[in-house]
């Protein structure tokens, strides 16, 4: 069920918007896409997201899937801690290594 060139165009454009809005790099997207068995190289994925290359349907969906996974891992809004686990580490301030000073 190929949606035709219009559908493909909408897909890469919206995917690129999502990539930009989430502040993801092509490197991050490609690595995840590769881990999901994507077969295009990093330059090809970059070209696809710039509308310079049309990827086959499954490959396009894999790019979208990679982007979506990265976004849902990223979007972890800060939550408030309860009194009983304040002495432990609790939810950290930054999602990645902030390197709390000893």
């Amino acid at each position: 069920m190929d949606t035709g060139s219009n559908g493909a165009e909408r897909q890469w454009k919206l995917t690129r918007e999502a990539v930009e809005a989430a502040g993801l790099t092509i490197g991050q997207v490609w690595l995840r896409y590769f881990s999901l068995t994507g077969s295009a190289g990093e330059y090809e994925v970059d070209a696809y997201l710039n509308g310079l290359l049309v990827l086959p349907t499954v490959q396009r969906d894999l790019v979208s899937h990679a982007v979506n996974e990265l976004i849902s891992e990223k979007a972890q809004p800060l939550k408030a801690p309860y009194s009983y686990n304040l002495d432990g580490r609790g939810p950290s301030k930054a999602p990645d290594e902030s390197g709390d000073a000893p």
């Binding site: 690595l31 881990s35 068995t37 969906d61 894999l62 899937h65 290594e97 390197g99 000073a101």
Partner: protein
């Protein structure tokens, strides 16, 4: 301008201590933390110190600080996009603030930084070879703390520190890249295997099988990798 340079001996001791601190550190994050500590010990009257690795787009990648105020002052710089460390990094020269209260460069940064109790500051670039990889700085809670001699001392410390830090950073980056890559290959294998199982069970072609697994992942809102691992482990598929 005559500068009373520290004794060669004193510097040698400091450099040896730096080498000891930095070369044994596993990660760039640990190394900048050690460097912050070393800078505070080396510069007289410093009440806080920090070291930051900055990528080629001017974003901080790792920060070490002796206390919370230094950490916060640092964070402010990158949020505001201005401050002595960013200038030290961009202009590749030492920046000295005699009194934050009267300083008129970096207005967006000086106001909130003053609220943190910082009064004077000094920041010098960390330059390894031809690339500036970050900045190290010292702060004091009184104005006019740092002398020309202190600035030279910080600069002389920064040179060996930058070279050592670049080494740790390269090692760290290579290690992390290869960890990520081997994880990616492991996931890829699992997903390929799951796709094969799906093809066999459901009489699908490779693309259909993969699309089916992708739909499952979306439906259950779980990572494709996890779904694939379950299929490989024998989970019955709808």
């Amino acid at each position: 301008m005559t500068v009373d340079l520290p004794l060669a001996q004193e510097l040698a001791v400091l450099t040896a201590r730096l080498a000891d601190l930095l070369l044994t550190r596993e990660t760039a994050a640990d190394a900048v933390q050690s460097l912050a500590q070393a800078a505070m010990e080396a510069v007289p009257h410093a009440t806080g110190a920090g070291a930051t690795l900055i990528d080629e787009r001017g974003r901080e990648t790792s920060t070490g600080a002796t206390d919370e105020a230094v950490l916060e002052a640092d964070r402010l710089q990158y949020d505001m996009g201005q401050g002595p460390c960013l200038s030290a990094w961009a202009e590749e020269r030492t920046q000295v603030i005699t009194d934050i209260a009267t300083e008129n460069r970096w207005p967006l940064w000086t106001q909130p930084a003053a609220l943190l109790g910082l009064r004077s500051a000094m920041s010098t670039p960390l330059t390894a070879g031809v690339t500036t990889i970050g900045a190290m700085k010292v702060y004091s809670n009184t104005p006019g703390t740092f002398t020309e001699r202190d600035a030279r001392l910080l600069e002389m410390l920064a040179r060996p520190a930058a070279v050592m830090l670049a080494n740790v950073q390269a090692r760290d980056a290579a290690e992390r890249a290869s960890q990520r890559m081997s994880q990616a290959i492991a996931d890829r294998d699992a997903i390929r295997m799951a796709t094969g199982i799906m093809m066999e069970r459901e009489h699908l072609d490779p693309d259909e099988a993969l699309s089916r697994i992708m739909s499952l992942s979306r439906l259950e809102q779980r990572a494709l990798r996890d779904i694939a691992q379950e299929i490989v482990a024998g989970r019955p598929v709808l």
